[in-house]
């Protein structure tokens, strides 16, 4: 592991102002991603995974506000940097791919042109070269017959094909960092594996740092070096993959793993964890946002914020009464 991480997020808190009050979507979130490493963020729906990714990319909704924290990327705090600097980083040094690739592409623009747009913006290519480079990118993400496909519109392509196009857009300028927000949601199982293999392989080739956001603990285990578990806007546990599976310390992690008998089962399918996420709009949320659902709850869990206890090297757990 290299000493300086590519991306390091520290004590990040994000709020949304809505009609029905302030949503404390993220609180005190810290993690880091190193060069060549793939880190997973797992957690159930609404736990704040996407908000984390959007904040780092600087594409949060207008209603969202960073109240605390830093996100350091290449020596620059992304949360303080001016918009022009961020725009230059996005797509060139740090890229993102999204879930539902079919709606994540411009429906009335040819996919080759969409790749060329990014190349022209960042890639130091001329208008004449751009289409050729776009076709090369299509080749790189293993799209058969790339010349013809470059002229296709998204609606003419399958979901898996669209996700490959998304990857081609994201990797067109060989970024140092890729954020993949549930890149396989909405694709069938065999396509899922192919897409993940492609991301892993291209990442390794380019020595890229990858942040994988997923519901699927099995997928995280298969591809990632390090896993961050989120719950209701908090990081409850983070550890190297083998360590996390061998010795989960947080009760929530333990439940997740117990509820994932086979690596292919998605967290979405599981009703096994009792209770729901707390209402993040409440004026006073319990310091430990899992306490209402927790079987190991003690009286001190209500009093102060659960401490973040360092344990094994590189791992954290936010619990008063860890396993």
């Amino acid at each position: 592991m290299s000493a300086v991480p590519v991306l390091s997020v520290d004590s990040l808190s994000v709020e949304f102002r809505t009609r029905s009050g302030i949503v404390k979507a993220l609180e005190n979130v810290s993690f880091a991603v190193n060069k060549g490493e793939m880190v997973a963020i797992v957690g159930e729906s609404g736990s704040g995974k996407s908000v984390t990714a959007f904040t780092v990319m600087g594409i949060l909704d207008a209603a969202g506000r960073v109240t605390r924290g830093t996100a350091t990327f290449g020596g620059l705090d992304l949360l303080q940097a001016p918009e022009a600097a961020l725009r230059d980083i996005r797509g060139r040094e740090m890229s993102m791919i999204f879930q539902n690739p079919r709606v994540a592409l411009n429906p009335i623009r040819r996919v080759g042109d969409q790749i060329a747009d990014v190349l022209l913006q960042h890639g130091n290519v001329t208008r004449r070269e751009a289409p050729k480079r776009a076709i090369e990118m299509l080749q790189k993400v293993r799209i058969p017959d790339p010349e013809r496909r470059a002229r296709a519109y998204p609606f003419e392509l399958s979901g898996g094909m669209c996700q490959r196009i998304m990857i081609a857009i994201a990797l067109a300028c060989s970024p140092k960092m890729l954020i993949a927000d549930e890149p396989t949601t909405g694709l069938d199982v065999t396509t899922q594996a192919a897409i993940m293999d492609l991301i892993a392989e291209l990442g390794k080739d380019q020595g890229m740092a990858t942040l994988l956001i997923t519901h699927d603990l099995g997928m995280a285990a298969e591809y990632c070096d390090h896993i961050v578990v989120m719950h209701a806007g908090h990081i409850v546990e983070a550890a190297p993959t083998a360590e996390l599976f061998a010795h989960p310390r947080h009760p929530y992690t333990a439940k997740l793993i117990a509820a994932t008998p086979k690596p292919t089962v998605s967290l979405m399918d599981l009703a096994a964890i009792p209770g729901n996420l707390p209402d993040l709009r409440a004026a006073e949320i319990a310091p430990c946002r899992y306490s209402a659902r927790c079987e190991r709850k003690q009286t001190r869990c209500d009093q102060a914020l659960p401490q973040v206890l360092g344990d094994v090297k590189n791992s954290v757990v936010a619990c008063w009464n860890p396993l």
Partner: protein, 337 residues
């Protein structure tokens, strides 16, 4: 794409048939006994029978419809009682005046409404957003004939910036040589700058009145469509790829937002053609609207039928043009499963 366009052309047929049937029924629904009406108040029963046969009113309704269609095919819309001229001739000479008004009205309202809607959507909560909202709600509440009168009072009577609201050209000018029938274009073709300016001056107020009325639905739709598109996933992708704001708003969002706006153009045309009639009256505009109003007042039915038919066919044609425009700009049309 040509096949699609052909399909749309065929798809417009039911509308045309519907229009023909309705206008036919309107002709037959004349108040009282049309034969008695046409024969005049002093006619004997035999004379009325005579007229009935002459008008073909003794035949069954379907037979009459066939006759009506045959007349139409020959371009026979009947004669105007007031002028004695064939209705078709009257409409043909007056249509360019109406078209010129309508087209400029549409042009101006699009040129104002679309940028306004886009600006409002890209700056939600700003003064331009509020302006857009006020204009859209107030705009649909302002009858075009009333706006027209206010404009006449302020810009003609008070300020004297506009010429008197009396037709297409000031009496000191003569109409340019007929090419398209649109005075502005014909004047330009003839290289007659003075007449062009005079025609524009006459157009200024009625076009403004029309544009204010039709601006509202367009601006409202543009704003809504832009807001919707700007919140969609592919815009997020474009932002995450570091594309500049201008490119995102215009090349990505705007082109997508225009699709629903083009579909509402149909409704806008309906508004526009209706308002056109009222505005023509206010400005003594010698178009087919004024023609129809004069006929209405003197219970002269053939011109009214001709007018309704012409407007309806014009509207069907405009809708068809919108459909074809849509096919051209949206690659997905015709591929939906």
């Amino acid at each position: 794409m040509l096949r699609l366009i052909g399909k749309r052309l065929v798809g417009a047929l039911p509308s045309v048939i519907g229009v023909l049937i309705v206008t036919f029924l309107l002709t037959r629904a004349l108040p009282g006994d049309p034969a008695a009406f046409f024969a005049g108040p002093a006619a004997t029963p035999q004379a009325i029978e005579e007229v009935r046969r002459a008008l073909g009113l003794d035949k069954t309704l379907p037979e009459q419809f066939v006759v009506y269609l045959k007349d139409l095919a020959r371009g026979d819309l009947g004669n105007s009682i007031a002028t004695g001229q064939p209705v078709l001739t009257e409409i043909r000479t007056r249509l360019p005046a109406s078209l010129e008004l309508t087209l400029y009205g549409l042009l101006v309202s699009v040129l104002i409404a679309v940028p306004l809607g886009v600006l409002a959507a890209t700056r939600p909560g700003s003064w331009i957003d509020h302006l857009c909202r006020v204009m859209t709600t107030a705009g649909v509440s302002l009858p075009a004939f009333f706006t027209g009168l206010l404009l006449v009072y302020v810009l003609y009577y008070r300020l004297g910036w506009a010429p008197a609201p009396l037709g297409r050209l000031d009496i000191f000018y003569s109409a340019p040589p007929h090419v398209t029938g649109l005075y502005t274009i014909d004047a330009l073709l003839a290289g007659d700058g003075a007449t062009f300016r005079a025609a524009c001056a006459q157009l200024l107020l009625p076009v403004t009145a029309l544009a204010i009325f039709t601006l509202a639905p367009l601006a409202r739709m543009t704003r809504a469509a832009m807001l919707e598109v700007l919140g969609s996933d592919f815009i997020r992708t474009a932002r995450a790829s570091g594309l500049p704001k201008g490119k995102i708003v215009y090349a990505y969002a705007f082109r997508n937002a225009m699709l629903p706006v083009v579909t509402t153009l149909g409704m806008v045309f309906s508004f526009l053609l209706g308002a056109n009639v009222l505005v023509e009256k206010v400005f003594s505009w010698p178009g087919i609207g004024t023609f129809a109003i004069e006929a209405l007042i003197s219970s002269d039915y053939a011109p009214i039928q001709g007018f309704v038919l012409t407007m309806a066919l014009l509207y069907v044609a405009l809708n068809l043009a919108i459909d074809i425009l849509y096919i051209v700009i949206d690659p997905r049309v015709g591929f939906e499963s």
